[in-house]
């Protein structure tokens, strides 16, 4: 078996495709590293500026009074950029980087409290730049390497059959499966040489730069990503062997493989997403803001009778005011969240269906381990929600601790007027948790493994029955 693998390896090492693949992969990986080194510091800087602004804001309000803190809220919360974004861009440019704390209205006596809002990215609106898939690992490996894997295997069995060498090999007393495993290993090793070289050069460039720091955890994640990349390569090697074993001529085998590759890798993700997205499209949100104001006015109408009753009694009026402000916030946040939920469920459905294509599975896996992409964005939103709750609880608790306060949340006169120590205010920290990432990735990992097992057993069956 090792003998066959070695022979395959030598064959491949001397071939044109090996040289071309090595040059192409190294070139792409170096481009990736250089672009990352340029862009990442800017992203980190933007994030730091955002966080600094947020902290200044909190400190300023905390110095003023608890009421200010409660009314203005934490403002924009920023998503922490991942240091592994060069592995998977995860369409981060199309995902928002912040959530917003919005003050919606003020009247002469009352001010609305902040609500948590999820503004979409609008940067693309003014841009007329051509679309591009960014050159990240998921592109280099998912698209380019998978194509190369097919080019390495399309003739490995059919070519030998054409030349008649297959008959020679099988004439020796080697079991067929050994031949097959030998061929598979040979192709895998000869592909992993350029891949490893390119990855090492990429990582070397990135890690020697002082701009970007990769911690121990990042290296752990990188090794998992590398392992997944190898698995993914195995999938396409198996596909190549399968077709090569079934088809008599290598030219035909290549045509089939290329067309399968084009449909699986290039077209399936987009088409399936469009089909799935279409079927699950949320109802149009025309006049969303109109609707939100209508709800607001309806609430005002509801409260008008209670305000009338409370006329003259300042304490009672304050209570009604407070209840109105609180309920308004709840109602609006509920509205925004419902819309977000609809949008997210549409995307989730589309993402689930696009998993039929192995390249999407691979991209999801890379995104999960690189801490980018849609799942990561959902995690960020979850973090924000937890923080918002914490923040509001902090306000209520601090207010309770102040004996001079009337404990009416929502009204200036009803709440603590004392400044709060800025250190005591809970700070938002966007965290990436490894176990959560692993959970989201488990399904994809299983699917990938399933794909490989099915294909490998297919290859085995096809090769065992092959007529020489």
């Amino acid at each position: 078996m090792w003998h066959i693998a070695k022979r395959e390896l030598y064959d491949n090492l001397n071939s044109l495709r090996f040289a071309l693949a090595t040059v192409l992969l190294i070139g792409l990986m170096l481009t990736n590293a250089v672009v990352h080194l340029q862009e990442h510091p800017k992203r980190v800087q933007a994030y730091r500026d955002g966080v600094a602004e947020y902290e200044d804001r909190l400190t300023a309000f905390a110095d003023e009074s608890l009421y200010r803190l409660a009314q203005k809220g934490p403002g924009d919360l920023h998503k922490k950029p991942s240091s592994l974004r060069f592995c998977a861009e995860g369409s981060e440019t199309d995902l928002p980087r912040t959530t917003e704390g919005l003050i919606r209205w003020t009247t002469q006596t009352l001010e609305s409290f902040w609500i948590l809002r999820y503004p979409p990215v609008n940067t693309s609106l003014g841009s007329l730049r051509p679309d591009a898939t960014l050159v990240d690992w998921s592109f280099i490996i998912g698209y380019v390497l998978s194509l190369i894997a097919l080019l390495f295997t399309f003739d490995s069995i059919s070519g030998e059959r054409e030349r008649g060498t297959l008959r020679l090999i099988l004439a020796n007393a080697i079991p067929r499966h050994t031949v097959l495993i030998g061929k598979f290993l040979g192709a895998l090793i000869s592909l992993s040489i350029p891949l490893t070289l390119a990855v090492l050069m990429n990582l070397l460039t990135i890690s020697t730069s002082s701009n970007v720091h990769l911690g121990a955890e990042a290296w752990g994640r990188l090794s998992i990503i590398f392992f997944i990349a190898l698995l993914y390569t195995c999938l396409f090697l198996a596909l190549g062997l399968l077709v090569s074993a079934r088809v008599q001529r290598s030219a035909v085998s290549l045509v089939i493989l290329l067309l399968v590759w084009v449909s699986l890798v290039v077209f399936m993700p987009g088409t399936l997403a469009a089909i799935a997205g279409d079927s699950a499209s949320p109802k149009a949100t025309h006049g969303f803001y109109e609707h939100s104001w209508q709800l607001h006015y309806a609430l005002e109408d509801q409260y008008s009778s209670r305000w009338r009753e409370a006329r003259g009694d300042s304490r009672k009026k304050m209570e009604v005011d407070g209840a109105f402000v609180t309920e308004d916030v709840e109602q609006q946040e509920h509205l925004h969240e419902a819309r977000l939920k609809q949008q997210v469920s549409q995307v989730n459905q589309a993402r689930a269906i696009t998993r039929l294509s192995p390249v999407t599975i691979f991209q999801h896996l890379l995104e999960a381990f690189a801490g980018t992409g849609f799942e990561r964005h959902l995690q960020f939103l979850e973090n924000v929600k937890v923080y918002a709750r914490e923040y509001r609880e902090f306000v209520v608790d601090t207010d309770k601790a102040d004996p001079e306060s009337l404990h009416i949340i929502g009204v200036r006169e009803g709440m603590s007027q004392k400044p709060v120590s800025p250190e005591a205010v809970p700070k938002f920290e966007d965290t990436l948790s490894f176990s959560k990432d692993f959970n989201t990735a488990a399904v994809d990992l299983l699917l990938l493994a399933l794909f490989i097992i099915v294909l490998l057993s297919g290859v085995y069956l096809a090769f065992v029955r092959v007529e020489v």
Partner: protein, 501 residues
């Protein structure tokens, strides 16, 4: 002789597995995607119709001219099914107001779509052709000459008195004929699907444009076929030719566009330029504010507020609003009264006088800021986009994309045409305001003596540009594609003539 050669080649190609596979895969991809794309277009059109209705209703419900917000909506382009280009990208509703000159950067997206769905790549028919046709052309070409060298048949053919140029021509013509079959069949099916759809109406001009797209596709196909032949003639061995062809394909289609953009694209925005232009715009508005205050100070009732302390049933607002990122800074004042009490009646003529003056001043100032704002925005947004698309055109894939976008009218020009029309419409509206003295009318700020007459307003309509303009825009790129064809053919001819058999 030539016909015999073509006949032979044609039969050779037609009977192959790759021909069957080519037809099958193109038809499959084009038909499935066309169905999806038509559905998507229908949804966008429905969204557009809803938005138009909603904006009309909102305008009708407004009580005064000053509070009226006129929105115009950008309809989706039916030819975006062929090449989506920039049709989905910029905002599709824009406010028309005398307060500022509307541009692409002031447009917003109406709420019919889910912004998260942008994370998926969107397909169009040209994208399928871009990837599949080029691949098929190379699959047909890699062994065209190398196979004959290897098989020794070339020597046989040449012993007859056949001219080498004829052999080359015969190969080219027959392979192109074969490759045209999947291209034309799939386009035909796509057009049939399009004409069967209830909501899409294509006129003669659209069919001409589709014809232009077909022409560009043929030129593109031919470029890749010739690249394949070139490799085949130079490599002489099929296996080498195949590997080279595949890597060239991967490089041109997958790698080059993305790598170039990754390398030349910069995230930074020209901050300094933005800031200085914004300052300039602010200064123009400050001057406006001085004039406004001067007017208030020197009229018959010197020293009063902008609203002459007229308070009625309704709301009023005045102030500046700005968006430094988009270089927008403008003055807004609106008054939305349903009722006015009699005690304010004496002040009404003064208010009318002031608003008549203000309307004209705001309009003029907005026009003046546009002169500053337009070049700055072009510099920030249009210039880098042009540089990037110029770089992409170094590869035939980029040329093909650009020329089909121009035909479909979804290119940068096509999108900007709409906003040019919107600016013309704004002129019309302002002309109407002047003609009817809307600024100085009572209905400008109060509805107590009759609501505005929204019905007699000039109507907005947008027509896509003529086909000959589309053709003019597409011409440079198409001719470049054709030129590449000719150059490649000459090179192949020279190599083939000089080659030893």
């Amino acid at each position: 002789m030539l016909t015999t050669l073509i006949h032979r080649e044609l039969l050779d190609n037609l009977m192959t597995f790759r021909f069957a596979a080519a037809v099958f895969i193109t038809l499959l991809l084009v038909v499935t995607n066309t169905v999806v794309l038509i559905k998507d277009y229908e949804r966008r059109l429905a969204g557009y119709d809803d938005a138009v209705k909603m904006h009309q209703r909102q305008l009708q419900e407004t009580n005064t001219y000053s509070a009226g917000e006129m929105y115009v909506d950008r309809p989706p382009n039916p030819l975006s099914i062929f090449n989506v280009g920039f049709d989905k990208r910029p905002g599709n509703e824009v406010k028309v107001s005398h307060r500022y000159v509307p541009s692409l950067w002031d447009a917003r997206r109406h709420g019919s779509d889910n912004p998260f769905m942008n994370i998926f790549t969107s397909m169009d028919i040209v994208f399928i052709f871009k990837v599949v046709l080029s691949l098929l052309a190379l699959i047909f070409a890699y062994d065209a000459l190398a196979g004959e060298y290897e098989g020794g048949t070339l020597r046989l053919v040449l012993t007859n008195s056949v001219r080498r140029g004829h052999i080359l021509l015969a190969k080219y013509v027959s392979a192109m004929l074969c490759l045209l079959v999947p291209l034309l069949m799939s386009l035909l099916l796509a057009v049939i699907l399009l004409t069967n759809s209830a909501v899409i109406s294509l006129n003669n001009h659209d069919f001409l444009r589709i014809g232009g797209i077909i022409l560009a596709s043929v030129a593109y196909l031919s470029v890749f076929y010739l690249i394949g032949i070139l490799i085949s003639a130079a490599a002489r061995r099929t296996s080498t030719a195949l590997m080279l062809a595949m890597f060239v394909w991967g490089f041109l289609v997958l790698v080059y566009p993305n790598v170039t953009l990754a390398v030349i694209r910069r995230l930074e925005s020209p901050q300094a330029r933005t800031a200085s232009t914004f300052n300039q715009i602010q200064q123009i508005w400050e001057e406006f504010d001085r004039k406004r205050k001067h007017f208030l100070a020197t009229d018959a009732f010197p020293g009063e507020e902008w609203h002459f302390s007229v308070i009625g049933g309704g709301s009023l607002y005045a102030g500046f609003e700005d968006d430094p990122g988009l270089l927008r800074h403008n003055y807004i004042s609106y008054t939305d009264f349903e009722t006015l009490s009699d005690e304010h009646e004496p002040k009404i003529p003064h208010a009318q006088n002031y608003f008549r003056f203000l309307g004209r001043l705001v309009t003029d100032t907005a026009d003046r800021t546009w002169l500053v704002r337009k070049p700055a925005l072009e510099n920030i947004y249009i210039h880098p986009a042009k540089v990037e698309s110029a770089w992409l055109k170094l590869s035939p894939v980029g040329l093909y994309d650009a020329t089909t976008q121009a035909w479909a009218g979804t290119d940068m020009h096509g999108v900007r045409d709409f906003f040019d029309t919107v600016r013309q419409y704004r002129h019309q509206v302002i002309g109407y305001f002047y003609d009817k003295d809307v600024f100085g009318s009572r209905a400008w700020f109060s509805a107590d003596k009759g609501a505005p007459d929204w019905g007699s307003f000039p109507q907005f309509s947008f027509q896509r540009v003529d086909t000959n303009i589309n053709a003019k825009r597409a011409l440079p790129d198409v001719s470049l594609l054709l030129m590449i064809n000719v150059i490649l053919f000459i090179i192949i001819f020279l190599i083939f003539i000089k080659s030893e058999v």
